[in-house]
Symmetry: C2
Subunit: 268 residues, 2 copies
């Protein structure tokens, strides 16, 4: 590097979470900003669990800060500090991004699921009118489910070994998208898109989250896991002729969406 | 740039002030950190005047933040948020840097004057036992005066057209360094080091802050102004054979001191 690239005019964006050492978005999004000749950076801030309520008003009050990204454990709490939420964020009650609007208010959205969808759309495939099967009803799964249904998926079948998460997500979805959701543990034969939204596959010894013999060549199979890539279930899917998308496609899709969201209102 | 250089492990340092667009330290110090293979960055934060009291406790509570630099208008207010102050910071009642110590407490110091001194020391000249003449008793002048006396200068003569500032600084210095300070408007013939700590010289039309015919070749003449460089008074001093130091030497000296202060306790 030959010249300083942070100045007093550099626009500041934060990523808050606890822990914070594992996050990758600051490097990726700062690079994306530089490639777009946007003078900004994404700064990781370790905000501990009990400190969100004192920290967010302070961060929002800084005029050179344009947006705040949110990771665990603050995705639910941060939504209370927005003046307005996207439809999917309302259904989920959780956000992973908020930004200052031109009128000074803050708008929150949730791109966790949209990133996976963007990865599928970018490959020239659609979500509208498709039948979805998903395993996993935690944070990622919930966001994927809502985003799929909002994007026009005709039907979602899902389940989770954690029955509390499963029930909570079912209730949210059934209220927001009546008649389009059901709980089920096996892949219906007419499924178009299969999603693993569990952490099963992080380790070689993990059981497969989906039975491979329920997959057929016309299905698209997507996984949220970014390491290892591909997971064993994606390898099994590919060997059956399925089109596959791994966790890096989801992340890549989300980086683009987040960049657009964060820099939507460029300041002089 | 070919790879992302911000990660979740990057140590974060802040520079707080209002306004903030004019600051240069974030670029310089971040570059200095990179050159030293220290994974950190200095992030400019626009903290408005009334927000210091709510902001500082929040910033101090972030475990991935190691230090906070302070510029106008917060240099006085920030000292109240330190558990311990350097001697010169105590005399001044103002800080421009604070850091977290290994025991979790915060230590504040003031490097505004030390930067000018470092520039002189780096040129192989000393402050100890030297007689100083200074014009200007604002923030920069106050810090330079205290730092000079703490560094062992034998005597300081100074004045300021703003008599309130002049009186306030005189009282601080007379109490902390009795018998070594006096107010005077002309350069005593036995002066070793002459300092312009006013903004006179920023514009070509400014009057000279010091009468050139009071300067002799044995004197070192230093100026705090970084643009233009050299100022007219430094040109006049050089033409009389004086050794001169301009504002960029002071800034360069301060960057080194701040870097050492900010990274004194390196975290894994």
């Amino acid at each position: 590097m030959t010249q300083p690239n942070i100045t007093g005019k550099t626009r500041v964006h934060f990523l808050i979470g606890s822990p914070i050492a594992q996050v990758l978005a600051p490097g990726w999004l700062t690079e994306r900003m530089r490639n777009a000749n946007y003078d900004g950076m994404l700064v990781p801030l370790h905000i501990q669990k009990g400190n969100l309520e004192s920290a967010l008003p302070v961060l929002k009050a800084m005029p050179n800060v344009d947006s705040i990204l949110i990771t665990l454990p603050h995705k639910f709490g941060a939504s209370d500090f927005c003046d307005r939420l996207s439809e999917r964020a309302k259904v989920l009650g959780a956000i992973n991004a908020m930004r200052r609007e031109p009128d000074g208010t803050w708008f929150g959205d949730n791109f966790d699921g949209a990133g996976l969808i963007a990865g599928i759309l970018k490959a020239g495939r659609s979500i509208a009118d498709k039948r979805i099967f998903m395993v996993g009803a935690g944070g990622a799964g919930s966001s994927i489910a809502v985003s799929m249904l909002e994007e026009g998926a005709s039907y979602l079948t899902f389940h989770d070994l954690n029955k509390t998460n499963e029930q909570a997500l079912y209730e949210k979805l059934a209220a927001a998208y009546p008649g389009r959701v059901r709980v089920g543990t096996s892949v219906p034969p007419d499924t178009d898109i299969v999603v693993n939204a569990t952490s099963s596959g992080l380790r070689d010894s993990d059981p497969l989250p989906i039975a491979p013999d329920e997959l057929t060549a016309k299905m698209t199979v997507a996984d949220v896991i970014t390491d290892p890539v591909p997971t064993r279930i994606l390898e099994a899917a590919a060997s059956r002729g399925c089109f596959t998308r791994d966790g890096t496609h989801m992340l890549d899709g989300q980086i683009g969406l987040l960049f657009d969201f964060m820099t939507a209102h460029v300041h002089a």
